[in-house]
């Protein structure tokens, strides 16, 4: 049994009178791809925000590789090795594709203003190795020919791939993907599935928040189901159809569609 990389305990968050997350507890073992599913408003995205430092919970704890995360800033958590995405790709629009990925690669607290002025040439030389790595990553995601294009000019699908290239460049320990399949065509979907598989085989732990259940079934070893801010089930996907609470909250809806 692998040890847990991410441990969430009794996480609670209210917005006004709305209990977005209630006593949420689960653990994600190292090296696994885990799905986080549930109907809209179940609190999935809030959990992602709380874990990645973009929100502060009312109570509860989050531990990442044994380190407490609550109270840390998002940039600190990111440098600890946890990279999250957002529901829409958030590329740096007026930066080139190359710079977008290079920024993810060189994930510093802050590039020194002083050294940027005094040691410009040395910094450039130091960056060359990272540029080489980024070129290889762009090649892998089919973006090599677009490296000097502004990210804003990319198509929706290319922006998704750019997001994955940034993650690959950052070499994180834990990746949280918030709806990576939103607005994605089937062809690109296959590519995204492959990318997730590649991250896992590189030793990353991946959490996928998603509504696309066939995608979850294919890529995730284990699934966590949330409803009304609580975790209502955790286990392999195949077992969920027998869980009446899950069927009532979420899967039932899906079957009526199918």
């Amino acid at each position: 049994m692998a040890t847990a990389l991410l441990e969430i305990e009794n996480l609670t968050k209210s917005f006004g009178g709305i209990h977005a997350v209630r006593q949420c507890t689960f653990a994600v073992p190292e090296g696994q791809v885990v799905g986080l599913i549930g109907p809209n408003g179940a609190g999935k995205s809030t959990v992602v925000d709380l874990v990645s430092g973009f929100g502060r919970p009312d109570s509860g704890s989050v531990r990442f590789a044994g380190q407490p995360l609550i109270g840390r800033r998002p940039d600190v958590i990111s440098r600890m090795g946890l990279i999250r995405t957002f529901q829409t790709p958030r590329e740096w629009r007026n930066l080139t594709v190359m710079d977008n990925v290079l920024l993810a690669r060189r994930r510093f607290a802050s590039e020194s203003l002083w050294q940027s002025m005094t040691h410009a040439r040395r910094i450039r030389r130091e960056e060359e190795a990272d540029r080489g790595a980024v070129r290889a990553i762009l090649e892998r995601f089919g973006l090599a020919g677009l490296k000097n294009e502004l990210a804003v000019r990319l198509s929706g699908g290319q922006k998704r791939l750019l997001e994955f290239a940034r993650i690959a460049a950052a070499e994180p320990r834990l990746i949280i993907l918030d709806e990576p399949m939103g607005g994605v065509n089937p062809v690109l979907g296959i590519r995204i599935g492959e990318a997730v598989g590649q991250f896992a085989s590189d030793g990353c732990t991946v959490i996928v928040v998603e509504h696309n259940l066939p995608f979850i079934e294919k890529t995730c070893g284990e699934v966590i189901v949330m409803d009304l801010g609580e975790v209502i089930a955790q286990g392999p996907f195949s077992g969920l159809r027998d869980n009446p609470r899950v069927v009532e909250a979420y899967l039932g809806m899906d079957q009526s569609h199918g």
Partner: protein, 349 residues
């Protein structure tokens, strides 16, 4: 000599614009306190360099430091004020909230300076000749003006080199990433506030330097010299030249100052309406902003993103493939489309 003055003034404002462009052009923060930093730099240079006030004139300090030392000290004071305003305004406020907060700060400063006479002699302002080296070098007045022009242009060139270098550096890249999407910047490890804050202080330092040069150039400074319209002209210049492009910003300042403000002085002004010229100037600047925003919003020179030249692996056939809705680059798209088709066939059977 008239044109020497015009170009000296434009050169001084070009340094100011370079600083403001770091804050607004790269950082995205529409700062309305910025002209206040020039004003404070100017006042401080005066009170540190021109000696004791003669009553009824009153102002603080009244030292007689060497001019470069006074200017450096003035920059330190300006950066100190920017550190306070920036710490409050940049932490959580963005866009219009940031602009209004900085406007409030500069308005408070303005009212304080105008009404509290012991500070900088209120409405009358401070004045006095600061002409470093004129007596030392035995220069005539005109010769001195030429030397001053040369010094200003040299400082502008140095400021340009510095800013240009910063623009291409990792710091410039990070600051622009924060401007484009600060949540994503934080998600990739960047300290959003600290990044913006340092850019703000850097810009304020250039504004402080500009204030010192301005003090030397016009030998007087009072509240009417830093009305809000002055800052609007700087913003217009950045907009015209090219926001985020240091070369464009300098060009923009010369176009706006020399082209609009000075040339409009030669507009015929009816004797009955002596205010026609200044009014026409304001109208022209407003018109120029509108036309630029409509037809060339990026300015004369666009912001230049970093170009990666080495190891170019793929030719630019990688334009989005026509038949692929995901818009994948051609080679990958061809492969994936084939696979997708295969999958669709399977689904069909």
């Amino acid at each position: 000599m008239y044109w020497v003055s015009v170009i000296t003034e434009a050169g001084i404002f070009a340094i100011l614009a370079l600083g403001l462009d770091v804050v607004w052009g790269w950082g995205g923060d529409f700062d309305l306190a910025f002209y206040g930093y020039l004003a404070l730099g100017s006042y401080m240079t005066f009170v540190l360099a021109i000696g004791k006030p003669t009553p009824p004139v009153e102002y603080i300090i009244g030292w007689r430091l060497p001019v470069p030392v006074a200017m450096l000290a003035a920059i330190v004071v300006v950066v100190g004020l920017a550190a306070i305003i920036g710490a409050i305004a940049l932490r959580n406020l963005r866009d219009i909230y940031f602009a209004v907060t900085t406007l409030g700060a500069v308005s408070a400063l303005y009212l304080l300076v105008e009404n509290y006479t012991p500070l900088f002699d209120g409405y009358n302002g401070v004045y006095g000749l600061i002409n470093p080296g004129q007596t030392l070098l035995h220069l005539t007045y005109n010769g001195y003006r030429l030397v001053l022009l040369a010094v200003v242009l040299l400082l502008l060139f140095l400021a340009y080199l510095l800013v240009q270098r910063l623009s291409r550096s990792p710091f410039g890249r990070m600051l622009r990433a924060v401007r484009e999407d600060e949540r994503a910047a934080a998600a990739y490890g960047r300290q959003v506030f600290f990044t913006k804050y340092r850019a703000y202080l850097f810009g304020a330092a250039l504004a402080g330097l500009t204030g010192g040069l301005f003090a030397i150039f016009i030998s007087a400074f009072n509240p009417s010299a830093w009305t809000p319209q002055e800052l609007l002209v700087i913003y217009a210049a950045i907009l015209v030249g090219g926001r985020g492009n240091p070369r464009g910003v300098i060009l923009g300042v010369f176009v706006v100052y020399v082209g609009f403000i000075e040339l409009t002085r030669f507009l015929p002004s009816p004797a009955s309406r002596p205010d026609f010229g200044p009014a026409a100037r304001q109208v022209l600047i407003g018109l120029m902003i509108i036309l630029m925003l409509r037809f060339r919003p990026a300015g004369i020179f666009k912001e230049r993103p970093g170009v990666d030249t080495a190891g170019a692996p793929a030719p630019l056939e990688a334009a989005p493939a026509g038949d692929d809705p995901g818009g994948l680059p051609a080679s990958a798209a061809a492969r994936d489309t084939a696979r997708g088709r295969q999958r669709a066939d399977q689904g069909g059977t």
